[in-house]
Amino acid sequence: MVEEESLRVVRCGGSELNFRRAVFSADSKYVFCVSGDFIKVYSTATEECVHILQGHRNLVTGIQLNPKNHLQLYSCSFDGTIKLWDYTDGILIKTFIVGCKLHALFTLACAEDSVFVIINKEKPDVFQLVSVKLPKSSSQEIEAKELSFVLDYINQSPKCIAFGNEGEYVAAVRDFYLSVYFFKKKTTSRFTLSSSRNKKHAKNNFTCVACHPKEDCIATGHRDGKIRLWRNFDDEKKYTYTCLHWHHDLVMDLAFSVTGSSLLSGGRESVLVEWREAAEKNKEFLPRLGATIEHISVSPAGDLFCTSHSDNKMIIIHRNLEASAVIQGLVKDRNIFTGLMIDPRTKALVLNGKPGHLQFYSLQSDKQLYNLDIIQQEYINDYGLIQIELTKAAFGCYGNWLATVEQRQEKETELELQMKLWTYNKKTQGFVLNTKVNMPHEDHITALCFCNAEKSENPTLVTTSKDGHFKVWILTDDSDIYKKAVGWTCDFVGSYHKYQATNCCFSEDGSLLAVSFEEIVTIWDSETWELKCTFCQRAGKIRHLCFGRLTCSKYLLGATENGILCCWNLLSCALEWSAKLNVRVMEPDPNSENIAAISQSSMGSDLFVFRPSEPRPLYIQKNISREEVQWGVFVPRDVPESFTSEAYQWLNRSQFYFLTKSQSLLTFSTQSPEEKLTPTSKQLLAEETLPTTPFYFILGKHRQQQQDDKLNEALKNELVQLPLTENIPAISELLHTPAHVLPSASFLCSMFVNSLLLSKETKSAEEIPDDVSMEEEKESIDSDEENNFTEEVQDTNNTDLGKDIIHQLSKSEEKELRKFRKVDYSWITAL
């Protein structure tokens, strides 16, 4: 039973992975990245999230390995603290309280027990680089107030600061100048691009900086796509620079390889460029990385690179420029038109993803499952180009059908519309395009919905449009002599007094269709497409429309633009109740009668959960988000929770997720963050000796399952006794014998697989004796040996698993024997 705390709004995954440069562990096994208030530790080999380091109370803004102990990690945050972590165990070691907002963090091997942070002191736009002395103390929380100023008036982005030549100097860029501070001489050189006021060179602002690890060389990126390599910068007069120019748009980030022999650069072209020996002619490319490269980082071992992209992904790249792993978070860099949906099959959250794609995002594992290419056209990344937008999508028939609408409008009169219907192919486990409808309506499609009633055998889809019509599309037989096929055709076109159709909704049983025409709601019979009745409240255009569910299915809810929420009773055809509520999001829970509505006020967004049957809300949470909430969705829980408190009961069967305007995905939780740790990571904390490989995960699950089973067994007092994985000799042998003395894998394979098949095996073993005994009954002649043998089988049921292999052998032998017996039998009858 979950202890009930107060309900809190929590950020649930999907936070930015590309906020700052990723950091590699010293052995390149792990890559760290900041993600909202957390730091995530990913395995570079498997792309899996190994740990989530939690503890900061605000956005984490910088992470760096501890130069004195590479198994530790420093992090800084807007909450004004620097924390030191043991990332292998995920343990917070120390917290240094600085007190002011920290914007970035830098560590230096030579700097004795101090780190560098970017803070802003007086004005909101003036940032300073300061060094913070981290006092030595054994206590967990230490005040670190000893700040010493290094550079003033710098850019807040950590990309604009770089330390060079083992901490001899620090380079900072901002606008049109580069300043270099020499720690030994305590002098600052400043280099201004002289032509910055010239119109032709107006775009050569600095964007990023990197320092050569071995030589006195500073690389700077510019807005016009040039890279400048500065040398001799200790002399303000004799300085010189070289230009490298390949990027046509601004250089987003730069990084030198560990030895300094090559320079990596990336930008909006989504191409990673490697400049070898800093020569313009000697460059290598890794193209088609999918989205703008925001950050580039290099592992200390030098074997891996990592690029962070604007579509919230990280790509681990080998030294030879081969992408080896992709860590993809929730794609966030575009407007969400489709809203939040749940794929009924995978239970994944579905929304706009990459341009022209629908992304399927697993909320449980906080990982993107896949992108479905809807528009199926090459995306041209160019500023000011009007793209085809994926505007609407809906799932129907338990995930068997997916309808999408895409549009492109260059001018007022030139609208390109396309509706696509996708069917789920069980063989390929993916959606396949079935029907493509060009210009399904004359004007923008405002809503589409499937009839999801259980009884309806014929899939039905309704689309509403600004052209005043709603259309009903049904699946029909489209077979010809060549193949059997089905396709969608328009079955009915309805309209109401030339009003724009704005919303549509099917009742739960599919018998009624509600279509709103601006201020008027019309109810149609879905069998005959007859207009049954209309509701008109004259309270503004209908913004949201939905039917009640289960016991409340006689109610229809409508929210208007003027801030009125109406509930109509379909039996009496009258308004049941209405309330003044400026509803932004209205979502029915598919598993209960509850309906969640989020209202928008100047203070923030408030959540109301209510049942259509009564106007009194079940639950109110004020101020769930400071900004506007754009979309929300109920996600059915796999395992129902059992909140006893009446206020939280609405969360028992479903979880409510919502997306704000700044695209943070939030949900409600009563659990403390520690409890939210996923079981896998918990296990990883406990079991350190095992390497984190996929193989390990199989074992881990298996063991857990067995533990559960054991529990069940204890409860229900079943006869079947199951061994623990640790005790299986085959596995322990496999794991504990050194690799070089192990027999060949083919030899071990059968042993290993058999050991894993235990649970099923025991069932069959149980059945076999019955079978045998039945046979025994049938048979007139029995041999003693056989009887003995069956006894032995029954004995093995209760024996420990140590004799598992013998048991397996006996099973096959027994089969053989049975065959012999059958042969014998026939032969006897023939006699």
């Binding site: 030549n165 001899e168 040398r231 001799n232 010189t240 070289t242 230009c243 002619k281």
Partner: protein, 686 residues
């Protein structure tokens, strides 16, 4: 300030020839430039990059190499197999000497200036001893298989590097034998090109040899071991030239794409002594091949097929931001190529091997200020006069009445009489011109076309009286004793009494033509004279110098005028002094004695001596005077310099009559259009 009808002439189809070699002389801070037609020009870098001397070209003398030796001696060598030494005083060729090795591709003078090395077509490297008045063959080095395209001395003079096709040889000077042969990779971006031509080598004092080749590489070799040390691939095309600074801390290379790359020796880290060569800045000031580069202590100099000479100062070497810190692009010669017969409205254009005579068009239309008037009669091409022989024209002139044309080449002087019969022209050559007139540097007719003045390269000025169809040598003004400096600029007063002549360096001599004697000498000035003219009536001599100073000298009073003293006291406007082309022509308004007309390549200016002089705070380049503003404001802002930048590049401007101007423009686009097409480069976004 009046308004003028302007003949805007754009039919002067002049194309300068491409630059083949440049050689910088550190001692005198002069730059020698040779062009593909064999012309050699000397620029004085101390005098605002003024082109102070030139040697006319010759069809058979295509220079391939140019070098300074022993301080002030200039040698060139070319594909005719001859080594030529130039006489920088008399502006002629001292001697030509055959090297007997076939066409000469390269030449280098030893660091101490006593020896000269040439690389020939037959693969031989020949060493010459430089004697005070000649050069003498000393010996051959080991003969190589193919032509020697580049040569460089070790600064100590002990070794030389010779670039050939596919390899570089290092010779020991004492023994004359090749001690290393360094093979150059033919591979170009993975594709094996046919041959790799070493276009240039440079030998550093630490024994490093830097080579540039046709595969676009700049390579560093260790001459002691003969091994490649470093390779910079900088271009997709040939790298054609290299020049290294005297300190050996930077060098410059030029490519066939028109890019000039600067390489610098920079320390790897600030606290270590280890240094490395780093390619720093690319400069794209050329459109075509950069055939030659030079490295002066403060600037990178490059020239190529696109005929521009570009001087790019190195910012880190420039002490103060002044006139020297600006990029310089020299395209047109700093002398007049156009002469004008005012009365007949004729223009004579001088080309390398011919002269063209044009009659200006005319119009009857009238219009407002700024209007373009339609021509009622188009300009007429009257005459195309081809020169005889392979030599280039040095100078030419048409008389003010339009009936005489004179021109000179290095060996001969030609005078023609023109007779106009309706539309036909009758050309009659005046024969038996005296031999001492040859190689004249400037020719001038008196205003009434009765006298011809010829400035010869011996420092003398000849006066010849012209008669109908014949001539008579009147007098020769001999140079002052001890000087053999040639005269290059002449000016005659409109009344014909005074003749001013100026040499390559300072002095301006004024002669009395009536009495045929030297009247006076204008006090010497540090900078060479770029233009001279004598004003009508007042007989004031106006002198423009290459540092943009303008002096007015009264010939009758033998002293500077009051106006000239005033402007010297106050100083010229700083923007006026920052113009980068010299004033090439001065003329006067016949009715307005207070006005001086002068022009350079990018502006023409009317100096109104009656108006106050501008100081540094006033706007020098004022826009066209506003017509609707009140007279008082206009008068308050008005100053002596009225400048128009409407016509550029301006080769010639003169006053035809009181209300008519003729300007000759040569748009750079027209020149580029006549050049061979440049190497095609893929440009992003096209």
């Amino acid at each position: 300030m009046g308004e003028f009808k302007v003949h805007r002439v754009r039919f002067f189809n002049y194309v300068p020839s491409g630059i083949r070699c440049v050689a910088y002389n550190n001692q005198s801070n002069r730059l020698a430039v040779s062009r593909t037609d064999g012309t050699v020009e000397i620029y004085n870098l101390s005098a605002n990059y003024f082109q102070e001397k030139f040697f006319p070209g010759h069809e058979s003398r295509a220079t391939e190499a140019l070098c300074w030796a022993n301080g002030q001696r200039l040698f060139s060598a070319g594909l005719n197999g001859e080594i030529i030494e130039y006489d920088l005083q008399a502006l002629n060729i001292k001697y030509a000497m055959d090297a007997f090795g076939g066409p000469i591709w390269s030449m280098a003078a030893s660091p101490n200036g006593s020896q000269l090395l040439v690389g020939c077509e037959d693969g031989s490297v020949k060493l010459f001893q430089i004697t005070p008045d000649k050069i003498q063959f000393e010996r051959n080095f080991d003969r190589q298989k193919s032509r020697i395209l580049s040569l460089s001395w070790h600064p100590a003079g002990t070794h030389i590097a010779a670039g050939s096709i596919d390899y570089i040889s290092v010779f020991d000077v004492k023994s004359g034998s090749a001690i290393h042969k360094m093979l150059v990779d033919r591979q170009y971006m993975g594709v094996s090109k046919r041959k790799c031509i070493i276009w240039g080598v440079a030998f550093l004092s630490d024994g490093t040899v830097i080579s540039v080749d046709s595969a676009g590489k700049v390579q560093f070799w260790d001459s002691a071991t003969g091994t490649l040390v470093k390779n910079h691939l900088i271009a997709n095309t040939d790298v054609q030239s290299i020049a290294i600074s005297d300190q050996e801390d930077s060098f410059v290379v030029g490519t066939a794409e028109g890019t000039v790359f600067h390489f610098q020796l920079v320390s790897v880290t600030s606290n270590s002594s280890e240094k490395q060569w780093v390619r720093t800045k690319p400069f794209q000031h050329h459109t075509h091949d950069v055939r030659a580069v030079a490295h002066s202590p403060i600037a990178l100099i490059s020239g190529g097929t696109d005929t521009h000479l570009v001087i790019r100062p190195l910012m880190e070497k420039v002490e103060v931001k002044n006139y020297d810190a600006a990029l310089r692009k020299i395209t047109f010669p700093h002398r007049r190529l156009v002469s004008c017969a005012k009365k007949k409205q004729l223009l004579l254009f001088q080309f390398a091997h011919h002269l063209e005579l044009w009659r200006l068009g005319s119009t009857v239309a009238t219009g407002k200020n700024g209007d373009t008037l339609p021509l009622s009669k188009n300009a007429d091409h009257l005459l195309h006069l081809k020169t005889k022989g392979p030599e280039n024209v040095i100078c030419s002139c048409i008389s003010p009445c339009g009936s005489w044309i004179a021109y000179s080449t290095a060996s001969r002087f030609f005078l023609y009489r023109l007779n106009y019969e309706h539309d036909n022209i009758n050309l009659q050559r005046v024969s038996k011109m005296p031999a001492f007139l040859r190689s004249a540097l400037q020719i001038l007719f008196s205003e009434d076309s009765t006298k011809l003045f010829v400035a010869s390269n011996q420092g003398s000025v000849h006066v010849i009286r012209l008669l109908e169809g014949s001539f008579k040598h009147l007098h020769t003004f001999q140079p002052q004793s001890g000087t053999v400096e040639s005269m290059c600029l002449l000016a005659v007063s409109p009344d014909g009494n005074w003749l001013a002549a100026s040499g390559t360096s300072a002095g301006v001599h004024v002669y009395n033509v009536k009495q045929l004697k030297l009247h006076c000498t204008v006090p010497a000035y540090n900078f060479p004279v770029t233009a001279l003219a004598i004003a009508p009536n007042t007989n004031n001599l106006v002198i423009a110098h290459s540092d943009q100073q303008v002096f007015e000298y009264s010939i009758p009073d033998k002293q500077y005028t009051q106006w000239s003293r005033t402007i010297q006291k106050q100083g010229f406007h700083h923007l006026w002094l920052q113009r980068d082309t010299p004033i090439t022509h001065i003329s006067f308004h016949p009715k307005r004695p207070m006005h001086i007309f002068l022009h350079d390549a990018y502006m023409f200016c009317i100096i109104d001596k009656s108006l106050p002089l501008p100081n540094d705070k006033t706007l020098l380049y004022n826009p066209l005077p506003p017509t609707n503003e009140s007279d008082i404001i206009r008068r308050r802002t008005a100053h002596a310099f009225k400048i128009s930048k409407k016509y550029k590049p301006l080769l010639f401007m003169d006053l035809l009559d009181e209300r008519t101007l003729v300007v000759v423009e040569r748009p750079l686009d027209d020149i580029i259009a006549q050049l061979p097409p440049p190497i095609k480069k893929k440009k992003f976004g096209t």
